[in-house]
Assembly symmetry: C2
Homo-oligomer: 133 residues x 2
DNA sequence: CTTGACCCTATAGTTGCTACAGGGTGCATA
DNA sequence: TATGCACCCTGTAGCAACTATAGGGTCAAG
C-alpha cells in the first residue's frame, strides 16, 4: 500500500482537530489542498497527516498561526541553519513568560480584594469598593 | 459648579482609555449615552467618569465585558447581599488560576524543548523534531 | 480666514476559530 | 429500490474585545 487516503474525518480524529478547523487551515494556506474523490470529498495523504500533526503540536504549544507558518516553511529547508527556528521559539517563550507574570500580578491583586470581602450588602462590599472611584 | 461636563477626550485621558473604546462601551450598552453639545459632541457628567473608571478597573483585573456588566448592575443595588459579586469574583479567580496553570505547563514543555536545541541545521533541530511526527 | 486638534458615524478588520444554512454523498439495512 | 444516518461540501456570519479606516464636521487659537 504505497498511497493511503484519509478523509477529513479521519484526519480530525487522528489529530484531535475539528473538521471545520482543518478546512480553516486549508483556507488560510497552512495545509495544502488535497485531492478530491469523485464525490468531491477531500482525500488526504499521509504527508497531510504529518503536516497537520505538526500544526496541532505547535498550536498546542501556543505558537501563533503566523509563527506556525514560519516554522513549517523553515522545517522544509533541511540544510539551513536552525537559528531562525530558535529565534521564533525564544520570542514565543518570552511572550509566555510575560503572560504568566501579568496573570500572576492580576491574581495577587484580585485575590487580595476577594480576601477582604466579608459578605454583607453591596453598600459595604469590598470588591465593589475596590472597583469604584 | 454643580454640573461638570467632560468631552470624550477628557474621559479618555482621565481613565487611560482610547476614545474609540469609550464609543464602543457606549454602543454595547456598558456606558449610558451622554448629552450632546450643540456641535453634537458628547458631553459627559462626573457620574459617567465614575462609571468608566469602574469599567476600566474591572477590565484591567481581567473581568469579561459581561462580568463587568453584571458587576455594574449589582453595584447599583446597595441593599442587596454581595453574594453574587463574590460569586463572579471567585469564578474569575478560578479562571485566572487555570490560565496560569495552563501557561506554566506550556512553558515547562516549551522551555525543555528549547533547552535541547543546539543550533545546527534544520535537519538536526530539536525544536522541529519535537513538533514533527 | 486658516490650521490643527478634536469630534462624529459607519463599516470593516484583527486572531483563531466556530456556528449556521442549505445541500450532496456513501453505505448499511429493510 | 428506498430509507436513514453519518459524513461530506461551500459560503457566510458570528464570537470576544477591541481597533483601523474612510470621510466629514466642530472648535479655538493665530
Amino acid at each position: 500500500m504505497a498511497h493511503e487516503n484519509f478523509s477529513i474525518g479521519d484526519l480530525a480524529k487522528a489529530t484531535k482537530t475539528k473538521v471545520v478547523t482543518i478546512r480553516y487551515y486549508e483556507r488560510i494556506g497552512l495545509l495544502p489542498e488535497p485531492e478530491r474523490t469523485a464525490g468531491n470529498y477531500r482525500s488526504y495523504s499521509a504527508a497531510h497527516l504529518g503536516r497537520l500533526s505538526f500544526i496541532r503540536r505547535a498550536r498546542d504549544l501556543g505558537f501563533s498561526i503566523e509563527q506556525v507558518r514560519d516554522l513549517l516553511s523553515l522545517s522544509d529547508q533541511r540544510d539551513r541553519s536552525c537559528e531562525a527556528v530558535d529565534a521564533i521559539a525564544c520570542a514565543h517563550l518570552t511572550e509566555v513568560d510575560r503572560k504568566i507574570a501579568d496573570l500572576q500580578a492580576l491574581r495577587r491583586e484580585l485575590g487580595s480584594i476577594i480576601d477582604q470581602c466579608g459578605c454583607g450588602t453591596i453598600a459595604e462590599c469590598r470588591i465593589i469598593e475596590a472597583l469604584s472611584p
